[in-house]
Symmetry: C2
């Protein structure tokens, strides 16, 4: 927008004062319009003089820089997008090369590529902290919905596990230093630094809506995203290859003589560890791989949200405060706790029994695992369906307006559920095709079908729950009050009588009715059940490998790929669900 | 929004008359707000009384149905999304099963699944035509940007080829009818009907913004999308398997004795065709496979756009009319034509020489092919860079406002370019890893690198070009005129003098300056060059297989998968680019 062309250089500060026939929201969207038109809004004083229905907003338009901002926004978007595409596709080619070729392109090359990504990412993060963030008006707003506590907590938790993994890796490859590539040691060292810096960065800055140096910031964030996706891709590939080479079905047992694979890429399988404890480190670090995969997914999600928030001017209205209390609910939490404890017991039994070589014990372990999960999922489905029915009965309005963070949240939820869907559908096809013979297979099939149904209804329940307006004492349905304000305004105009604002406030406070109580019970129950469904796969239960049907039906490498890509998303999904259900609980 | 709750049942028609401090656009977005709040806007009379700077809009609010519409919108969105996810993932599992297992799940099962998808899709399309479309106010607006002529034309062209393919398939499998599954005949019959109905449907209705029966319509469109994606996935898999079984490197030669694979799945490789012409049909229909793949991509894009448009109330302002003439340009079209003719000649030589068994002739053909493409791509890159420089010099403002169709267009362009990126990067990694020895490899590498650069700058050029405001005589920079209106309004208020509107109209008409002329030249040139880059792969040039480096480096099935997924997107990208460049040409 070439404002210069119009010779309005001189009125840098143009005070607009307008009658508010519009709701707060439509004013927001007008602001968005101006914003997207490259007009920089420095200060918005939205003094709401309720009585008169009159609002004034003084918007300071800085005409210089408008064109520039617009161009920068467009460029930063494109540049960072291209950066991501190029890094990811080049990375894909390298990883594919190392898997399918393995001679000219080895895992060393891939690790070198990762190092070459991590170092600039770390440098950018330090630069952001030291320079960008210190600039004037660098961060005018913080997106209160971004970087919720479960995401940051998960990042720290999984980051810690990944850090331990790196320490083990360093210790292990120091033992091979005399005969293996130095990249093998350099990589975990760089990764450890990367983990520390990145976790610190996201802990502090995940909510920033950066306004300055947009090109650098957007590119930096996309670089971060690309790096994390590459780490994820490499970790999944490594894990899958590892399991393909040693398909004993159990990760904890199979990593005994890993050296052949680790050094195979360096073409010196005669390379031996220089000290004794090597094998322990190997076992340990392969056990920690899944945490690193989760960490990368978490960091990717946060980088993406932050990238979306660059240049965004969020309305600084705080989210509705809800007090958390369990006063009104009883059945839900108790039921959830029962499932949680039962699930934990099953998990322990399963983990102990499934590693045994006896076929019978293994099958018994699988049977118990499937039955517990089936019961959990079936009860959850019933509860969720009941919740959806209550939604239909309770005619609460949807929250107004586009909420980018909510859309993003819903998108992440739907996307993450695809992982679990994939594993379930692949299982269903395999069991049906091979013919359902034996209890274990029948249970496996039933669990998979139930899981698909549960995922569907739970997604509906959560999305509906998030979309609804919260019940809150001080909440006012802003658009109604505005419509009424308008009406009042017109009446006043014609009659000359001032209507006091008090009469148009719409308090929605009621004693907790049965519908709300039931919704709270259901949310609490689902929350706890999702925790147990998260714990089992997150801490190593892999019935998908312990039950040979998947590996029999699909070839082993295909099945390993499906499970290793699908399951981490499933784990992410459960954590995300827990957080979303907590929000639904508070809103109900 | 439960308007009933507020006892405003009675003022169904609420006339809002407001001072327009806002541009046309911000009024639009206010309307969007109301709309998303479930308020149905029946008529908007935006009579712009320019002189006074006063605009009135009477918005008829029909309060009943608001809640309902909102709920329906939300439900239709979720239901159709889940439908797509479930069908696609189940399809993935089936296709994977048929590839990796092939005994319990065969291609017959997959084809049966496809039939089970196509029949409801066809039924829905007929239902839409007969019932939904006939309802009152079913389609209030048509999205003039959706379903452009190149997309519809491409759909018809590729649909025709796919239809011929189906005829060949029917003829072929009739010959196997005595010993092969009847599904093999039923599938092409159903697909032919599906092709006819779908092409007719999209030809007539691609631009519809459907307002009624949203749940059914959204689900129907997602079913259509899912069906097309499944057809695409199956076609890519079939094509890849076919090439993997007969890796002679050339599709036209390799399909001579296809029966073994076709019938392998039915476990009766002794099955023989009952008449002589079979092998011709086989050759013919495998040659037509790529067109079917393209057709599915086109149909998917159209179904997705139509799905996005359900419930959308597009502003009925027509797109700027541009007259197309070549008066002002000469160099660009001539240069483009030279490249086009040169490319066609190379293509013919290549296709003739590359099928020969002589290694030397083959290499010569590849060399010529690479050199022609390199020259084309290099000149294109130079021209595009020049175009980007002119963009920087020419300070034209960006078009205002969110244009969903444009965003979608840009998204499709970026997405489709990923295919070409993938093939190029995989080639680069392979050549670099194997070491660049020989002219052919060096040329291959150079071409791939140049292609990556060309794709990047061309994307930037097209996106920038599409975002700019068109030069048009009658165009007025609405937001400026509004800012000026405001200024005028305030001046008038203080001085009491009416400013005639004539003084604030901003005609941008000038004789074509050198910058615009150059931009037109560049667009025309790029348009023609993209056509030749489209023709070569679309009509069967596959240097990726004729040059053995890809199959050597990655294993054969990996490379076949990469090329078979990447290339069709590359072809789609070139067609899309041609259309977008035409628009850029008109706008310049």
């Amino acid at each position: 927008m070439d404002l210069g062309m119009l010779q309005i250089h001189d009125f840098n500060e143009l005070n607009l004062s307008f009658n508010s026939l519009f709701s707060e929201r439509s004013k927001m969207s007008v602001r968005d319009d101006l914003e997207s038109a490259g007009v920089q809004i420095s200060t918005v004083h939205a003094g709401a003089h309720g009585l008169a229905g009159q609002r004034s907003a003084s918007i300071a338009l800085s005409s210089s820089g408008g064109v520039w901002q617009d161009k920068i926004s467009s460029w930063s978007w494109m540049l960072s997008g291209f950066l991501l595409i190029n890094v990811i596709i080049l990375g894909c080619a390298l990883v594919s090369g190392s898997v399918f070729n393995g001679i000219q392109v080895t895992s060393d090359h891939v690790q070198f590529f990762l190092i070459a990504l991590m170092i600039p990412t770390v440098i950018w993060m330090v630069f952001y902290k030291v320079h960008t963030f210190q600039e004037d008006e660098a961060v005018l707003y913080k997106d209160v919905h971004a970087g919720p506590v479960w995401l940051r907590g998960g990042l720290v938790l999984f980051g810690l596990c990944s850090l331990i993994m790196d320490v083990f890796k360093i210790a292990l490859f120091v033992g091979y230093a005399h005969c293996d590539s130095p990249v093998k040691i350099a990589f975990p060292v760089v990764q450890a630094i990367f983990l520390l810096v990145q976790t610190y960065f996201f802990w502090l800055h995940a909510r920033d809506c950066v306004q300055v140096q947009r090109i650098i910031t957007r590119c930096g964030l996309m670089l971060t995203l690309a790096t994390n996706l590459m780490v994820w891709m490499t970790a999944v590939t490594d894990e899958s290859l590892h399991q393909t080479v040693y398909p004993t079905g159990n990760i904890t047992q199979s990593s005994c003589n890993l050296t052949t694979r680790v050094s195979a890429s360096s073409e010196n399988s005669s390379c031996e560890c220089s000290y004794q404890a090597c094998s322990i480190f190997e076992k340990a670090y392969y056990y920690l791989y899944p945490f690193n995969i989760e960490y990368s997914l978490f960091a990717s999600a946060m980088a993406y949200v932050m990238w979306k928030n660059v240049g965004r001017l969020v309305d600084d209205h705080q989210p509705h405060e809800h007090r958390f209390h369990l006063r009104d609910v009883l059945l839900g939490p108790v039921g959830g706790l029962v499932l949680l404890v039962g699930g934990l017991a099953t998990f322990v039994v399963y983990e102990v029994d499934v590693v045994l070589d006896e076929q019978q014990k293994k099958e018994a372990a699988l049977t118990i695992y499937y039955i517990t999960n089936m019961v959990t999922v079936a009860v959850m489905t019933a509860a969720t369906v009941a919740g959806c029915v209550i939604y239909r009965l309770e005619r609460r309005e949807h929250a107004m307006g586009k909420n980018p963070t909510r859309s993003l949240d819903v998108g992440l939820l739907m996307g993450a559920s695809m992982g679990q869907f994939t594993v379930s559908y692949f299982t269903i096809v395999a069991v049906l095709a091979l013919g359902v013979d034996g209890t274990v297979n029948a249970l496996n099939l039933a669990l998979s079908v139930l899981t698909v149904v549960e995922l569907l209804v739970q997604n509906v329940f959560i999305i509906e729950g998030l979309r609804r307006e919260p019940h809150h004492e001080s909440r006012r349905a802003s658009i109604f009050s505005n419509l009424l304000l308008l009406q009042a305004h017109e009446e006043r105009r014609s009659s000359g009588v001032l209507t006091p604002r008090g009469s148009i406030a719409l308090p929605v406070h009621k004693p907790l009715p049965w519908k709300r109580k039931l919704l709270k019970e259901i949310s609490a129950f689902l929350l706890l059940s999702n925790i147990i469904l998260w714990i089992m796969p997150a801490f190593g239960a892999r019935p998908q490998f312990d039950n040979p049907i998947g590996t029999e039906f699909y070839q082993f490498n295909m099945w390993v790929a499906v499970v290793n890509i699908g399951l981490p998303f499933g784990i992410f999904y459960r954590m995300h669900s827990v957080a979303s259900l907590f929000e639904v609980y508070l809103k109900s």
